[in-house]
């Protein structure tokens, strides 16, 4: 009897440790004291943005940067607060993020971006955006489904900010059935396009920049004929199987000589590097993401391979892993520039620095923007006399006018602008190929999204 009682106590102790661990995992993250700032482009903002000088369509009333300074930059840009701006309206938002494990950095910065937006909007007299954060455990689909069901049924979320490719594809039927307006600013994928209630506010991961990336390699290294492809099974699979091989063949007449997929979170790429070396590949394209890229670049360079290495994103996390070897890395993406003089971006950056003591980066900016998209839609529905807590009405307002203010693009006097595609629910943003110099990205070439039937060389913006 005594042993049974002791065993029960022991199990209880173990459960306490385990539960406390789970509770800690559900925390929205701490203020990081890291000195690492997000990488910035050093080129002119017009070049990085694609030269978009269009004024934002400010549906909150007031012109961009035209009102008298009120001491609150959000009001300066989006107009005054009040009932028309959603004051008194509570919008329940969910976030489906990687809060633990290898991808926890993403979840941390994404949630920070969204929380800042919620705070700024509330202070500006706008809606009260309440955030519930759920952890999809580094992209685990069953966990994502369970968490979204929980947020819908128990937390009553009306909108959702999702991340990663596989979980976001998996939840599409759920959010469509429940009518939860959802935006993905992280792992967008072709499988998420044209889904009811699901929208993307980043260019389709890997798919959109891949052709431009390969065209850039071809232009810079015209003798390159053989390509090595790296990627995960979580996202970018279409690039791996079709887009890259087809574009490469059209551009160079060459072949893909190595194609290696790996699990997200892989750290040992020495064997893959050996295979690439043995294949004599002339160039490498990786559609992996996050820390994996840092491990890849490091392994490839330490194997003595000095051919061009092109990726499709840049994170400070990967750069810290790769160290000096990241100065040999190029990447193609819709890159966020912390130095963009766009007034809203400056408001964002100052707010982020004040709240978190560090610069924002790419993913934080996307999830920050998403909350403002929701706010914009709330204001539009209010103006139309509708119910701002009805996600179907929010989506209808989006479809009616898919243009939104953006921290990307613009100029010193004008807030940037992005347009969502009402056909496939994707987005158009300026993209570029960037080199890395002294750890910081530098724009080398603007690129555009092209369709498979186009000449891939046309992806380079001349």
């Amino acid at each position: 009897m005594r042993r049974a009682g002791l065993a029960r106590k022991s199990v209880a102790i173990g459960l306490v440790f385990g539960v406390s661990g789970l509770l800690a995992a559900c925390s929205s993250g701490s203020d990081s004291s890291s000195e690492d700032a997000s990488a910035t482009s050093e080129t002119s903002e017009e070049a990085a943005s694609g030269g978009d000088d269009a004024a934002s369509e400010d549906t909150g009333g007031g012109d961009a940067a035209g009102d008298e300074a009120t001491g609150n930059c959000i009001n300066d840009i989006f107009g005054p607060g009040g009932p028309e701006a959603g004051e008194g309206v509570t919008l329940n938002g969910g976030m489906l993020l990687a809060m633990t494990g290898a991808g926890s950095f993403f979840g941390d910065v994404m949630s920070k971006g969204a929380q800042l937006a919620a705070d700024q909007i509330r202070e500006a007299g706008g809606m009260d955006y309440q955030i519930t954060i759920a952890d999809h455990n580094n992209g685990d689909v069953p966990t994502a489904l369970t968490e979204v069901k929980r947020m819908i049924s128990q937390d009553g979320i009306e909108v959702l900010q999702t991340s990663y490719g596989a979980p976001s594809e998996a939840i599409a039927p759920l959010i469509a059935e429940a009518g939860v307006l959802t935006i993905n600013g992280g792992g967008s994928s072709p499988g998420q396009l044209s889904k009811d209630f699901l929208w993307q506010n980043r260019m389709v991961f890997a798919e959109d920049p891949a052709t431009g990336a390969l065209a850039y390699i071809n232009e810079q290294y015209p003798d390159a004929k053989s390509l090595a492809l790296l990627g995960t099974m979580e996202n970018g699979v279409g690039v791996f199987r079709e887009t890259a091989p087809n574009a490469w063949a059209k551009l160079t007449g060459g072949d893909v000589v190595v194609a290696e997929q790996h699990d997200v979170g892989e750290t040992d790429f020495k064997a893959i590097a050996s295979k690439i070396k043995a294949s004599n590949a002339d160039a490498i394209l990786s559609v992996s993401f996050g820390d994996d890229l840092g491990y890849q670049v490091k392994a490839v360079r330490e194997a003595g391979i000095d051919v061009p290495f092109m990726g499709i994103e840049f994170t400070s996390q990967a750069a810290s892993i790769a160290g000096d070897t990241y100065d040999t890395f190029t990447f193609a993406t819709d890159f966020y520039n912390v130095d963009n003089p766009n007034p809203w971006n400056q408001c964002f950056v100052e707010g982020y620095r004040a709240k978190y003591g560090e610069d924002p980066e790419y993913y934080g900016s996307n999830y920050y923007e998403q909350v403002f998209i929701f706010w914009d839609l709330v204001k539009r529905v209010i103006a139309a006399g509708g119910d701002p807590n009805d996600a179907a009405q929010l989506q209808a307002a989006l479809i009616e006018n898919p243009t939104f203010a953006s921290v990307y693009g613009g100029s010193a006097d004008v807030v940037g602008e992005v347009i969502l595609d009402t056909n496939d629910h994707s987005i158009s943003k300026p993209m570029g190929v960037f080199t890395v110099e002294n750890g910081a990205p530098v724009l080398a070439q603007e690129i555009r999204k092209v369709s498979p039937s186009d000449d891939p060389a046309s992806a380079l913006v001349q």
């Binding site: 065993a7 022991s10 661990g21 789970l22």
Partner: protein
């Protein structure tokens, strides 16, 4: 078959296998003596990494001193887990399952604690240069021999891993404390009867196991970064190496780790890296079916 590729994969396999050997000996030392599935062996691994980053980069200690401090921190964490987590259960003759649950709970909670305290960002190992600015602590030199390459850290991993394995085996075989460990491992009742203090043996074993785990953690931190999730997957590899190589033999565990590393590397001649875990667990499954005591273990009398 591409001979150059095979040779390079063999080198990579030896490096990986040596690291597995280190992890296996760390885990095996604790398991063989106490029978505890010490998944919390991940904590000294990560603690050493973070301690090195903090003492070198924040406190500005010279690298050698920072590494020493980091190893002391690793040992302290290991002993803390023993005293606070396991001793109360062992003293009351608690079930091994209870110990496993505690270990699992600690192993799961600690990365989250690291995340809360240090944030989610990767932390490279840096030292303060002459100008006071932070710079990389290691320059990982690359040595090329035709097609073949190996880095300085890879060479150090192999050398240090097998040095540690040899020293631990000699310690266990040749010293009085080591013989106490063997006695406790083979016959706890008789060991108690002849006056061997079980608690002191546990302290020594956990200290040594944590020290070795800390060494492994320092390698990962020096080669890459310290991160909250850096440790658990490596600890699991150590666990597999023990059962693959031999649960009753430290040399067997080490050799098992080496074989596992080579198998993992060579398998990529024929299949993608995503199948590496399949190879590892298939090998373990086969060995346990054919030789339950492990590849190099001795069958029970």
């Amino acid at each position: 078959m591409n001979i150059d590729l095979f040779a390079q994969l063999t080198i990579s396999g030896v490096v990986l296998g040596s690291f597995y050997a280190l992890l296996g000996v760390s885990f095996g030392l604790v398991y063989q003596t106490s029978k505890i599935f010490h998944l919390a062996n991940a904590i000294p691994f990560a603690a050493a990494g973070y301690a090195a980053v903090w003492t070198a980069g924040v406190l500005g200690l010279p690298l050698f001193l920072a590494l020493l401090v980091a190893l002391v921190v690793a040992v302290l964490f290991g002993l803390l887990i023993l005293v606070v987590g396991y001793f109360p259960i062992i003293r009351r003759n608690g079930a091994l399952l209870s110990l496993f649950l505690v270990s699992l709970g600690i192993a799961v909670a600690f990365p989250n604690l690291l995340q809360i305290v240090f944030g989610t960002e990767n932390l490279p190992l840096q030292v303060k240069g002459a100008d006071g600015e932070l710079e990389a602590a290691f320059s990982n030199s690359i040595y090329s021999f035709g097609f073949l390459t190996i880095t300085l850290i890879d060479v150090l991993k192999v050398v240090v891993a097998w040095l540690v394995v040899v020293l631990v085996v000699l310690f266990v075989k040749k010293t009085r404390t080591g013989r106490s460990i063997t006695a406790l491992r083979t016959n706890p009742t008789m060991a108690a009867a002849v006056g061997i203090n079980k608690w002191m043996v546990y302290v020594v074993v956990f200290a040594l196991g944590s020290l070795i785990s800390g060494i492994a953690g320092l390698f990962v931190t020096a080669e890459f970064v310290a991160s909250p999730s850096m440790a658990l997957q490596w600890t699991l590899i150590g666990f597999i190496a023990v059962f693959f190589g031999g649960i009753s033999s430290l040399p067997g565990t080490a050799l098992g780790g080496l074989v596992l590393g080579l198998l993992t590397s060579w398998s990529q001649l024929f299949m993608g890296i995503q199948f590496a875990p399949v190879v590892v667990f298939t090998a373990l499954f086969v060995i346990l079916l054919v030789k339950p005591q492990g590849l190099f273990g001795k069958a029970a009398a």
